[in-house]
């Protein structure tokens, strides 16, 4: 089976030309943005661009975490539910247990890490397919969120609410997005753990025979996915100034789509954070643009589907590879 040529092999330093050449979806994104800019003058307004940045934050952060999992040839359906559980649990700990406010966000991230680790352990040691382990966690985490909150929204703790605020002229979600992206890219590109993820996803047997601790790598990718999901959940809660028990419903498909649009392969071994960001932006720009253009909601769904297909087509044409 051919695999895409966008492995990490070419990831040396940052190089715009190289970046574009390896990101077919980037071309799709640019075309999309140009079309939107022509169709609606409001698209390029500063305020709208800030909006797009803020709107992409949640999905991009989820997708960053998902990138680890997909690079290692897994899939994580639980991210939306874990986002909700983490945000809700940390809010409840602050409100109910009197957890010091400073620890709110840390508590949320710990809950996310735990949920992710459980999924990872089920996949690595319980040998469940990642699809099933994460589907089970998707259901369990959503249920626990409802149990904790009794299905009611909870006021966002002040630390979480701050995640929805502004830092000077820049909305905090954009700041979080950038930091999360840099961290994720660093882990994937420069650390030994990141290399192991590519190895496990590229050829699990070879990884094992080379003495790579395959199981621990699998646990790690899900754990990281859980942490990023928790962060995304708290950003969402901050933006809404309220922790909704329904946060992230259906977000898993968006997150996976962003990763795949960004050039990763669900069969593993391939994928980059920069690509994932492009993928998330494609989704955010379509939605933003269709709202600006006042396309009827029903037709919007049709257009979104077509545009997603076209965006990925750009990538595929470049690589001429068959992947099913």
């Amino acid at each position: 089976m051919n695999s895409t040529a966008t492995g990490i092999s070419r990831q040396r330093g940052f190089d715009l030309k190289n970046f574009a050449a390896n990101n077919g979806a980037l071309i799709g994104l640019i075309v999309l943005a140009v079309v939107m800019a022509i169709a609606s003058p409001a698209f390029l307004s500063a305020q709208n661009l800030v909006n797009v940045g803020e709107q992409v934050a949640t999905i991009a952060i989820l997708a960053f975490g998902m990138t680890f999992v997909i690079v290692a040839a897994g899939i994580d359906l639980s991210v939306g539910s874990v986002a909700a559980l983490s945000a809700m649990a940390s809010a409840s700990m602050v409100a109910g247990w009197g957890l010091p406010e400073v620890l709110t966000i840390v508590a949320g991230l710990v809950v996310g890490a735990l949920a992710g680790a459980v999924t990872g352990i089920a996949a690595a040691y319980g040998k469940l397919p990642a699809f099933i382990a994460s589907l089970a966690m998707m259901s369990v985490a959503r249920g626990l969120t409802m149990v904790i909150s009794d299905g009611r929204p909870v006021e966002a703790p002040s630390q979480v609410a701050a995640l929805g605020g502004d830092l000077g002229p820049i909305p905090v979600p954009i700041v979080v997005l950038v930091i999360a992206g840099l961290v994720a890219a660093f882990v994937l590109r420069f650390t030994v753990a990141g290399s192991y993820m590519y190895a496990v996803g590229g050829n699990i047997e070879a990884a094992r025979l080379s003495g790579i601790p395959v199981k621990r790598v699998v646990v790690l990718v899900f754990l990281l996915s859980g942490v990023f999901a928790a962060l995304a959940g708290m950003v969402t809660a901050g933006r809404l100034d309220s922790v909704q028990p329904t946060i992230g419903t259906g977000a898993e498909l968006d997150a996976i789509a962003a990763v795949v649009i960004g050039g990763a392969s669900l069969s593993g071994g391939v994928g980059r954070i920069s690509g994932t960001l492009v993928g998330a932006l494609v989704l955010a720009v379509i939605r933003n643009g269709l709202n600006l253009l006042n396309v009827s909601p029903f037709w919007q769904q049709v257009v979104i589907g077509v545009v997603i297909a076209l965006a990925v087509l750009f990538d595929v044409i470049r690589h001429k590879n068959t992947r099913l």
Binding site: R152, G164, R239, D241, T246, N291
Partner: protein, 289 residues
């Protein structure tokens, strides 16, 4: 696309996968056409974050008034702020916004509706009976309010007892399966209270010939299918809102805003308990508006 052409307004809906909101939209669009407003409609598909994004967009796309049907009252706060900060008049419809006072609030009261449903059931059952509840999507505000009002009122009737309460996510298909399962465990129920008409109709299918006869079914919303079912007797009643009227009133307020007139702070739209007795009358009235 602003300025010279017709004044623009945005209607941000929580969902369109439910005929209730389609009716609301229709009422709004009809009124907008009459008034000569260019009304943009967006659909958040029940995701509060999408709605926030959509309202942010509405705040920069030249809309001169924004009508929001919040996905969730709490979660709508920042969205409301985003619009109001731009100095754009905001009108909330169907659900309010916690801690924010929009220029105008047009709604039927879900908690009150829940109470009315309990009162109706108490009457139908003669004050005593076993009730199954079909809950809406867990965590949705309509689920909470319609459930809370109902249970609150029910406490006043010691003979009425909820023996089973399960969710069917506001969905007709799911309600069919869930109801079929519930009656296996609790075959001797006397009534079903569903948090919306869709689930009530699903329950009616599951109960078959028992529907409306030895098991009374009460829905919520007053949509077309449900009214027909009330007429046919399979549903014993529905707590009818007038979605088209909600939409119409919202656009009328938007028009006032565009014309620079002061808004009406609160526009109550009546919730009607519809049973076989008043269904014809109600349907005629709905047709007129």
């Amino acid at each position: 696309a602003s300025g010279d052409s017709a004044p623009k307004a945005t209607l941000a809906l929580s969902t369109l996968s439910n005929p209730f909101f389609a009716d609301l939209r229709d009422g709004a669009q009809k009124a907008a056409r009459t008034a000569g407003i260019d009304l943009a409609v967006v659909n958040a598909q029940d995701n509060p974050e999408s709605q926030l994004d959509q309202l942010r967009t509405a705040a920069v796309n030249g809309s001169r008034a924004v009508i929001v049907n919040p996905v969730d009252s709490d979660a709508a706060k920042p969205a409301a702020t985003a619009v109001m900060d731009q100095g754009i008049p905001l009108i909330a419809v169907d659900r309010g916004i916690t801690d924010r006072t929009p220029g105008s609030f047009i709604a039927s009261d879900n908690v009150a509706g829940g109470r009315q449903a309990a009162t109706l059931l108490a009457g139908l059952l003669g004050g005593a009976g076993r009730i199954a509840v079909l809950e809406g999507q867990p965590g949705a505000s309509a689920t909470r309010d319609r459930g809370a009002g109902f249970l609150e009122e029910l406490r006043k009737h010691s003979g009425l007892q909820v023996v089973a309460s399960q969710t069917a996510n506001f969905d007709r298909e799911e309600a069919l399966d869930v109801m079929a399962n519930m009656v296996q465990a609790a075959p001797d129920i006397d009534a079903v209270y569903a948090h919306n008409d869709e689930m009530a109709l699903g329950a009616a299918v599951a109960l078959g010939s028992r529907a409306g006869k030895d098991v009374k079914i009460i829905g919520f919303d007053g949509g077309g299918d449900a009214l027909e079912a009330v007429k046919a007797g399979t549903l014993s009643g529905t707590i009818a809102q007038s979605p088209a009227e909600l939409g119409r009133q919202a656009v009328l307020q938007a028009l006032r805003a565009i014309d620079g007139k002061p808004l009406q702070e609160s526009v109550p739209v009546a919730v009607t308990t519809v049973t076989s007795k008043n269904v014809d009358e109600f349907m005629n009235k709905a047709k007129e508006s």
